[in-house]
């Protein structure tokens, strides 16, 4: 892992990673390169601090949550497969992806998984539901300072009400998906260079 070469052979388990994430060889090499660049002390993994060093993440309202999403289940580090796995959500959906569906497990970049990634950014307590409180927290991050707290609460209420179908005052993943039914998620949650 510490090797400087950017050859694919350097990446451990390169084939299984490819299979899981669907990344091309070139993308994996590039990502591995980036991974090592972020890994300051050549530890072989990225710590939270490594991720926090990334330029504009600090000013991104969702930066902390996105860093969190790279660190599975409260651990403080992420290895390369884990790193790539998260990024795989943003691989554009290609035609061949849809063909594979029936037998294999759903690819990470499926619509469902893309949505799920976004969903778990909201769902801080991992209970499978976005509560009003969680919605409010996100809104606080997203909406400008000019909107008062009270208004924010109104918006949060409204947002939850809008998506909440079973009346439990929270948005489940299913409801979350439904509320975005008409949105072109495949397009809006994909980055071209991650092929």
């Amino acid at each position: 892992m510490g090797s400087r070469s950017s050859h694919a052979a350097v990446i451990p388990d390169v084939d299984s990673i490819r299979r899981e994430t669907g990344f091309s060889q070139a993308s994996l090499i590039r990502l591995h390169h980036r991974f090592r660049a972020l890994d300051r002390n050549k530890k072989g993994y990225l710590s939270r601090i490594d991720l926090q060093q990334i330029g504009a993440l600090a000013v991104n309202p969702l930066g902390d949550r996105i860093i969190e999403s790279f660190l599975p289940n409260g651990s403080q580090q992420v290895d390369f497969p884990g790193f790539v796995r998260v990024l795989a959500h943003f691989r554009p959906v290609e035609d061949e992806d849809t063909d594979l569906d029936p037998k294999k497990p759903e690819p990470l970049n499926s619509r469902r998984n893309k949505l799920h990634y976004a969903f778990q950014l909201y769902d801080l307590d991992r209970d499978g539901k976005i509560s009003r409180h969680e919605m409010l927290q996100v809104l606080r991050l997203m909406v400008g300072v000019q909107v008062t707290e009270e208004q924010l609460e109104n918006i949060a209420d409204r947002t939850v009400q809008e998506a909440d179908e079973d009346g439990d005052g929270a948005v489940s993943f299913l409801e979350f998906t439904k509320s975005l039914e008409k949105m072109d998620v495949e397009q809006k949650m994909s980055i071209r260079i991650l092929k």
Partner: protein
């Protein structure tokens, strides 16, 4: 310039105008002293003709749209061109010569700017920038490709001997012609594509290309033109370099001019708070100034206006008032539509003028084939390259539509007319060819593109209403993508957009937006705000519906409630400022005027719910009927609702105190108030009534009321209105004021008899106020109903809201409706009202008047005013009023 243009337009009138024009001159010779009647046709000729032309075009539009079948099959632009041909033919037949045609000067200075401004201003900016790469490629590379290939191919055609030798043109001439014929025309594209409804991406690419390629067209045209004028022998290598450089100067310069003016415009509108009326004017003036400035500096004027509209919209929309926004929108659309109509009509008329034509079949056919072929080839090649970089590749069907949608239009025609015949000997041939090309693309392609799109099953655009969730999640996605790009270390589009938005938020918006507007422009907030308004509107609509059905029965209520619930809750929760307008006061005052109403009210006190409802229904009906202000009125409703609910707490105290009539309900309120810690006041009230005579109570209340005086009520009224304005956004404020004014005149709301009662009453002197009250009441009442519906879900708020509702509706309702109708309904409702009052624990009742009296401050006064109405009744006819009151009280207490 204008004059010349106008006089050109004058032909169609010629027949009618001839007689009048001569009149003024012939009688003028004898030099009469005073003329009784005088024709001054020449003085008004120019503007008159312009107006007539536009009128003719508009009437034609109306006629076209009489038949939906025709317009659904044939694009309007085709019809207009055909109409132009017919008109031109008539003119030709009448005047024996074709004088009128599309003048380049008129076109570029007056007709084109509104269209471009309209398209730039209303361009979906997000979509535009998302596809900027593709748009720029097609606009720059595509146009260059088209111009050079078409020009070269035509030259080749000539070399091959397929073009008649009388067409004297060299390679440069053909390149010049190619440059003017190659550009996709924004006017034509817009006219056709707006009716086709292809998906957004496709539309924005074709349309964006047509707008941005102006810079390339202008440069190419000018460069080629100057080359032609210099003569090909004199063109030196540096001239070519200059030509390339001027491409950048013209395009970037045009864009820069546009952005500078956009900045100025945004900044100016920031300070128009006190002169709202000129806001729309500013938008047009500065945008036009941008156009003229760019034109003056021979930069790309179209690009300048496009960028101006694109750049300023966000800030301008935030700064100007709601009405100004509407005005800008409609004026812009009207102007653009006018200009478009006139352009197409004049195109048709110009084509009739055969004196400027010189036909050459080889040239015409060759041009047609080449522009179609090279357009398609260019699109395919560019798309292939672009798709290497696009997340969502443009598929074959898209490419077909893009190729086929490359319409040429008036820009090409105006440019070809501008050619100098001495320098370009083949001008007449070029004119004829251009006309044919324009007609072919607009008519043939315009006619067939719709069926083609259908046949190819091109993805159509779909409209869906924005939801808060979508808006929020979209923002989330944007941020996520920006972050991921960051993590991946590739600073792409998302990254830079995110940076731009941060910059915009931090600096630009701060600088260019009013502070009050800043908040509203937050997109999430904006969606939320609009959703709320929509809810309110739909609620009001529904309320009206229910009313009309006359079945005010319970079943309808629940459904209505459920519909309104979300919005109402939101409204309630939405923070209002501390001040509150007490509309109740107004209501009571009004009701008090009508004695009969009061009597009715007493009798029906048990069934108050019902009258209220009716009233509401009628109110909503009125509102709906007031079409012009409907929207704003509804907003007003919303706001009033909010205020009202908030104010209920404070009002309760006072009302209970002084009021004898409202009492029963108040007690109900009281109960709720208790929950809110305000309960103490309400209780004593009830006890007092029961113990002492009702009359005494009323007297006291009267005195208090008198003290409060009508002036106070007026004051409050004003304050309330003002307050609403302040509390809500400026938009709402305006809406409110206007709404109230508009509503006032509606005669039905005002009870027929009240006038006498008002006269009698000391505080009623100001009659003019009545109307205002009424209006405010009506606005208020609907919200009340909403409250009731909402109450079911929220118990605490419900109790507060219900009492005022009862009051207002009963009083107001009675006048318009016959008693008989009300009575039968009454029985249904009683249960709801009495219940709360009964619930009063006896212990609480004692809490006492003293409390309430001492506490009576501003809130008290407000509360007192509602009482005034009741007092009036007692005043006028103490006996009846008292008895009624007693009955009421007893009922309430008993219950």
């Amino acid at each position: 310039m204008l004059r010349a243009a106008l006089s050109l337009l004058a032909l169609p009138l010629a027949g009618a105008a001839e007689e009048p024009t001569q009149k003024p001159e012939s009688p003028g010779e004898p030099l009469p002293g005073l003329e009784l009647f005088r024709w001054q046709w020449h003085e008004v000729e120019a503007p008159y003709l312009v107006a007539l032309w536009i009128l003719v075009a508009s009437l034609a539009k109306i006629v076209f749209h009489l038949s939906r079948k025709v317009t659904s099959l044939v694009p309007e632009s085709c019809l207009l061109i055909l109409l132009g041909l017919v008109l031109g033919g008539i003119v030709l037949a009448v005047a024996k010569k074709a004088e009128y045609q599309l003048e380049p000067g008129t076109f570029f200075l007056f007709l084109l700017p509104p269209i471009v401004l309209d398209s730039g201003y209303f361009m979906p900016s997000r979509l535009f920038f998302d596809n900027l790469g593709a748009i720029l490629t097609y606009a720059v590379v595509g146009t260059l490709w088209n111009a050079f290939t078409t020009g070269a191919a035509l030259w080749g055609l000539q070399q091959a001997g397929l073009v008649a030798p009388r067409v004297q043109a060299g390679l440069l001439d053909f390149l010049l012609f190619g440059s003017l014929i190659s550009a996709v025309d924004p006017v034509a594209v817009l006219a056709v594509f707006e009716e086709v409804h292809v998906n957004e991406t496709l539309f924005i690419i074709v349309f964006g290309e047509s707008l941005l390629n102006d810079a390339v067209t202008v440069v190419l045209y000018k460069v080629c033109n100057s080359f032609v004028e210099m003569g090909s022998a004199n063109v030196q290598a540096t001239d070519y370099l200059k030509g390339v450089a001027s491409l950048f100067v013209v395009s970037l310069g045009g864009a820069a001019v546009g952005l500078v003016f956009a900045f100025l415009l945004a900044l100016t509108t920031r300070f128009t708070k006190r002169v709202r009326i000129i806001e729309p004017l500013l938008v047009f003036l500065l945008a036009y100034a941008a156009y003229l400035t760019a034109e003056m500096a021979s930069l790309s004027a179209i690009l300048a206006v496009t960028m101006c509209g694109l750049g300023c919209k966000k800030y301008v929309e935030a700064n100007i008032s709601h009405k100004s926004r509407t005005t800008v929108k409609y004026t812009m659309k009207t102007l653009a539509s006018c200009a478009e109509t006139v352009i197409f009509m004049l195109l048709g008329i110009s084509a009739v003028d055969s004196s400027k034509w010189a036909w050459d079949s080889g040239l015409v056919l060759g041009t047609l084939i080449f522009i179609l072929f090279f357009r398609a080839l260019g699109v395919v090649l560019q798309t292939w390259v672009l798709n290497q970089f696009r997340l969502i590749p443009l598929d074959k069907i898209d490419q077909v539509v893009m190729s086929y949608g490359g319409l040429r239009g008036a820009v090409a025609f105006a440019l070809v007319i501008l050619l100098d015949r001495t320098k370009v000997p083949a001008k007449d041939y070029f004119v004829a060819t251009t006309i044919v090309v324009v007609f072919f693309t607009v008519i043939v392609q315009g006619l067939t593109i719709k069926p083609l799109v259908k046949w190819l099953k091109v993805k159509r655009s779909e409209h869906h209403k924005p939801t808060l969730n979508q808006e929020l999640h979209e923002h989330t996605f944007d941020h996520i993508l920006a972050a991921v790009e960051d993590v991946v270390g590739h600073h792409g589009y998302h990254y830079w957009r995110d940076r731009w938005e941060q910059f915009d938020k931090k600096y630009l918006s701060q600088l260019l937006m009013r502070r009050s507007a800043y908040r509203i422009r937050d997109q999430i907030w904006d969606v939320y705000y609009r959703l709320n308004i929509r809810d309110a509107i739909s609620f009001v609509d529904q309320g009206g519906h229910v009313l009309s059905s006359t079945g005010l029965t319970l079943p309808s209520m629940p459904s209505r409630n459920s519909v309104a619930e979300t919005s109402v809750t939101n409204l309630l929760r939405e923070s209002g400022s501390g001040a509150c307008l007490d509309l109740q006061v107004i209501d009571t005052v009004r009701s008090g005027r009508d004695r009969e109403d009061a009597v009715m009210h007493h009798l029906l006190c048990g069934g108050l719910y019902k009258p209220r409802r009716r009233y509401k229904a009628s109110c909503s009906r009125h509102f709906i009927s007031d079409d012009a202000q409907e929207r704003q009125d509804k907003e007003v409703f919303q706001q009033n609702m909010k205020r009202r609910l908030e104010s209920f707490k404070s009002t309760k105290h006072n009302i209970c105190f002084t009021k004898s009539k409202p009492r029963p309900r108040k007690t109900g309120r009281r109960k709720d108030g208790v929950a809110n810690a305000e309960a103490t006041n309400g209780k004593p009230r009830d006890l007092g009534f029961q113990d002492t005579a009702a009359v005494i109570l009323t007297v006291e209340s009267e005195e208090e009321e008198e003290e409060s005086d009508s002036s106070e009520t007026e004051k409050e009224d004003d304050e309330g209105i003002i307050f609403v304005a302040r509390a809500t956004s400026e938009v709402l404020q305006e809406g409110k004021v206007s709404g109230s004014l508009e509503v006032c005149p509606s005669p039905r709301i005002i009870p027929p008899s009240p006038t006498c009662a008002e006269k009698e009453l000391p505080w009623k002197s100001g009659q003019g106020d009545l109307a205002v009250y009424v209006s405010s009441e009506t606005t208020k009442i609907v919200p009340v109903d909403m409250q009731t519906g909402w109450n079911q879900s929220m118990s605490s708020l419900e109790s507060l809201a219900s009492p005022p509702c009862n009051q207002a509706p009963t009083l107001t309702c009675l006048p318009p409706h016959p008693r008989g109708a009300e009575e039968p309904q009454a029985p249904l409702y009683p249960p709801s009202d009495p219940r709360p009052s009964f619930a009063f624990p006896p212990s609480l009742a004692k809490a006492g008047r003293s409390h309430s009296e001492s506490s009576a401050d501003l809130p008290q006064q407000q509360e007192l005013q509602p009482l005034m109405g009741h007092k009036n009744h007692t005043h006028l006819s103490p006996g009846t009023a008292n008895s009624h009151w007693c009955i009421q009280f007893n009922r309430g207490s008993r219950l």
